[in-house]
Amino acid sequence: MNKLKDIDYVLLTVVLIIFAAGILFLFSASYQKSKDIDRNLTLFQVMWMVIALGIGAVILMIDYNRFISSAYLIYGLIILSLFIVLGFGIEKLGAQRWLRIGDMSIQPSEFAKIAIVLALARYLGYNTGRMEKWTSLIIPIIITIVPMVLILAQPDLGTALIFLPILFSMLYISGAKIKHLATLILIGLAASPFMWHYLLKPYQKKRLLVFIDPNSDPVGAGYTIMQSKIAIGSGRLFGKGWLSGTQNQLNFLPERHTDFIFSVVGEEWGYLGCMVIVLLYLFLIIRGMNIAYSTADRTARLLVVGLVTLLSLQTFINIGMTMGIMPVVGLPLPLISYGGSSLVSTMVIIALLLNVRMRRMIF
């Protein structure tokens, strides 16, 4: 049990630095009184981090192999809770993503991402060497599609869409043929007009259309993107300084404490601040990838690849959408955006990464 020395303290430190910087941004975002942002949210966020660290510590104590062997059970429970959200969830911002337990509302879709990675790692890891066949792709696809459809129905486009790249990266690493993967992508593209028509809600279509042509809805969704771009761009090289961003402090930025927190970074900390944050994330991700390189356990490697892909995509899409280079799909920025579910699920990912590294077999 004496493996504490094998914890990757560098990775953990980077995580805590990003979180600490995030607290500064959140403080700034909630500095001015406004109707939809609670002024105490930094306090809540720190409280959530304490809880998240506790959960992370518990995860570290359990061998990751036990998570993988019970992956299907965890997956099943998450599917069940997604059904419950559809039935009894609370609506926030027009989407039903929240489940109320006592006084807390949690967002099962945040944890569904991890459950899918676990289930895929388990299946692909146990079927090593058989992935070159066509038919082996069927079950991984089903594992991904079921929660994806449930989350799309909530409706949460961003979370649902992030599943596909995760599936592909894990299939790729597990040895599936590139020919097969390319065919799947073509089928997906062919089916997308159908999905556009039947699966998407009007506001989701609008957001995607606005991404293609920001001027198509200048008064609605386009306004948010424009204000966010102005905020980031106006920060220029050095930024306007902490608590001094006019876009932020004058209430121009909607959802600036959650999905659009990066606009606050851009405006107040400038290009240099943004680069520091982006590089910190990149460092975190490379450090995570290293774990995949260094472990000999194929299943563990798949798990790490899935989790690292998840973290990178989430970071990329979130920062990309604040600059208008990705569509606005409602994904939080890991470790920085306000929200307990997002924070806890990110820390679970970090804990699983550390767990694999701690127990990796060293030759």
Partner: protein
């Protein structure tokens, strides 16, 4: 190997982010910085006008006009009090009311910055021009031109068109999914409400860049507003207007309809209201009067929502059920000596008619004949025919809030009163008294069954863009041509016969079939009913008129029918 490829892909994603940051913050940083100074972006909303409502001949009933709204952008105003005082002087509105409306609407941090706070709606064009010319002296004051609903025939069509207003909180919750948002203008009654989805326009707007004095220098993006869909009604506005003025200011309702397909020619409820009062803040007093007028109830559409005991017009149903169920024949006679006894109760007839057959009993509206017929037929048979003729159910007209009326029967009385149904109840029912309740719209539909040879049509106001499709599955009522012929003949004699109760509706050269009704009510004079159709042989118009406490059906209500039919013959092409 593959792990390396994946790492490179992730690397390139982050590289894209870094390029994006460079482009946004360094390459275009100056541009965005300039935009962020005093935030140079303004939203200029442009509301989409609602669709136009036409009558059957293409006359416009509901249109849009431009209204000038004055607001201020608080962040641009240097001295709020001075500006408000200047506005008060120009607009001739007390400073205190402008000030309180500003304080109510604007709360720091609660509204989008640089969004104008609207202080006065419907400002005159002259004042709007004065303000526009004076804008350099009054920084922060904005004048917006918005389309506003206007009704060309005002109170004459108020109950048909309904009116529009800001969306209520409850409606918003339900309609959010369909793209409705706070402060949207939606229909609150009439076809404005039932066809809101068709009529409502799509709002557009512009995102503009302004200079430090609030002048527009560049349009960054814009979306054209889209006008809502138009609606063509089956109504003939000439008839509608005539009938509306004829009924005013009496309390009552009247419907004129094509008995063959259910096209409504005119649907009137009196007293009416001016639908503009809901949108014009200057008419707030008038609105309060209308809303609180418990005596006139001007907002109640009596033709559709008003339920009344039918009185003797219900004898059409009693006759139809008795004849069709063969409880009486065309030759059956009953003797009327003015009184009728059931158990210990005595029922009266206004007159002593002697021996009567069905035609004669319809002509002079003999109660005794129908008491006897009703008792032979029984409550179950009468109630079934009442339902077959569309009473006790919604007609399905495209107007919100329709009342279904009530057809009493044994079960209802048992449940409601805990009492058995007595023969006296049947007698009362046979002449349309008691718990029976109908709307004028149901009555016009009922007489249309006689007029068109046995079909229960669906009354409707719209064709194009409406719910009604040509050739619907019209329900055939179980009634033979023979029975219809007998009832028609009786109804003809109501107007033409020597003893006819509706003789005052007589018009030379136009054969009319009708039935009068005088519905007794617990207090006050009876409600007067007059319903029927014309011409007898080839009916082209059916009608139902009710006047609350209007006395006998053969008097005031019959006069309205006659004058309206004369108008129809002279001034419309309905009978041609």
């Amino acid at each position: 190997m593959r792990l390396k490829a994946l790492t490179i892909i992730i690397f390139s994603l982050f590289f894209i982010l870094m390029i994006g940051l460079w482009r946004t913050q360094i390459a275009r940083g100056y541009y965005y910085h300039r935009l962020s100074e005093k935030n140079r972006l303004r939203i200029v909303p442009i509301n989409g006008p609602r669709g136009i409502v036409y009558d059957r001949r293409g006359e416009i009933l509901a249109d849009n006009r431009l209204s000038f709204d004055v607001g201020i952008v608080p962040q641009e105003v240097k001295d709020i009090n001075k500006t408000l005082k200047a506005l008060a002087k120009i607009l001739n509105i007390p400073y205190t009311s402008l000030n309180s409306s500003f304080n109510n609407k604007y709360k720091k941090g609660r509204s989008l910055p640089f969004a104008p706070v609207v202080l006065a709606k419907g400002v005159s064009k002259d004042n709007a021009i004065i303000l526009e010319e004076d804008r350099l002296n009054l920084p922060g004051v904005v004048v917006q031109a918005n389309p506003v609903r206007t009704y060309l025939y005002g109170k004459d069509t108020a109950h048909l068109t309904g009116y529009v207003g800001e969306i209520h909180e409850g409606q918003l919750k339900k309609l959010k999914e369909y793209g409705y948002k706070v402060k949207d203008i939606v229909g609150h009654s009439g076809i404005e409400m039932s066809f809101d989805n068709t009529l409502r326009g799509k709002d557009g707007g512009m995102l503009v860049e302004v200079d430090n004095r609030g002048r527009q220098i560049k349009v960054i993006g814009s979306r054209e507003p889209v006008k809502g869909g138009d609606l063509h009604l089956t109504v003939d506005i000439r008839l509608q207007k005539f009938l509306s003025e004829l009924l005013h200011p009496r309390h009552g309702g009247a419907v004129f309809m094509d008995p063959n397909n259910g096209d409504i020619f005119a649907l009137v409820s009196s007293p009416s209201f001016n639908p503009d009062i809901f949108m014009d803040p200057g008419k707030r007093d008038e609105l309060n009067i209308a809303l609180n007028d418990k005596y006139n109830l001007p907002l109640l559409n009596r033709s559709v929502m008003g339920v009344y005991p039918p009185g003797s017009i219900f004898k059409i149903i009693t006759a139809a059920s008795g004849l069709q169920m063969k409880k009486i024949t065309p030759k059956t006679t009953f003797h009327c000596d003015g009184q009728f006894h059931i158990g210990s109760g005595t029922f009266a007839c206004p007159s002593t008619h002697g021996n009567e057959d069905i035609r004669g009993a319809l002509e002079d509206s003999c109660n005794i004949f129908f008491y006897n017929t009703g008792l032979k037929t029984g409550v179950d048979g009468i109630a079934r025919y009442a339902l077959d003729f569309g009473l006790g159910e919604l007609t399905g007209i495209e107007l919100p809030g329709e009342a279904s009326g009530h057809v009493p029967d044994r079960m209802w009385k048992r449940l409601k009163m805990g009492e058995n149904w007595y023969p006296g109840d049947t007698a009362n029912l046979s002449i349309g008294q008691g718990a029976m309740l109908v709307t004028p719209l149901q009555v016009v539909r009922m007489v249309s069954v006689i007029a068109n040879g046995g079909y229960l049509v669906t009354p409707h106001l719209t064709k194009e863009g409406g719910r009604y499709k040509e050739n619907p599955n019209i329900k055939k009522v179980n009634i033979s041509d023979e029975v219809i012929k007998i009832i028609k003949d009786g109804m003809r004699r109501v107007v033409e016969g020597y003893d006819g109760t509706g003789r005052r509706a007589r018009i030379d050269g136009l054969s009319i079939a009708a039935k009068t009704g005088t519905a007794e009510v617990s207090s006050g004079a009876s409600h007067a009913w007059f319903c029927g159709f014309a011409p007898l042989d080839n009916p082209k118009v059916a009608f139902a008129i009710v006047l609350e406490h209007g006395g006998k059906g053969g008097e005031g209500a019959a006069d309205i029918a006659r004058e309206t039919l004369e108008f129809i013959r002279r001034d419309t092409d309905i009978l041609r």
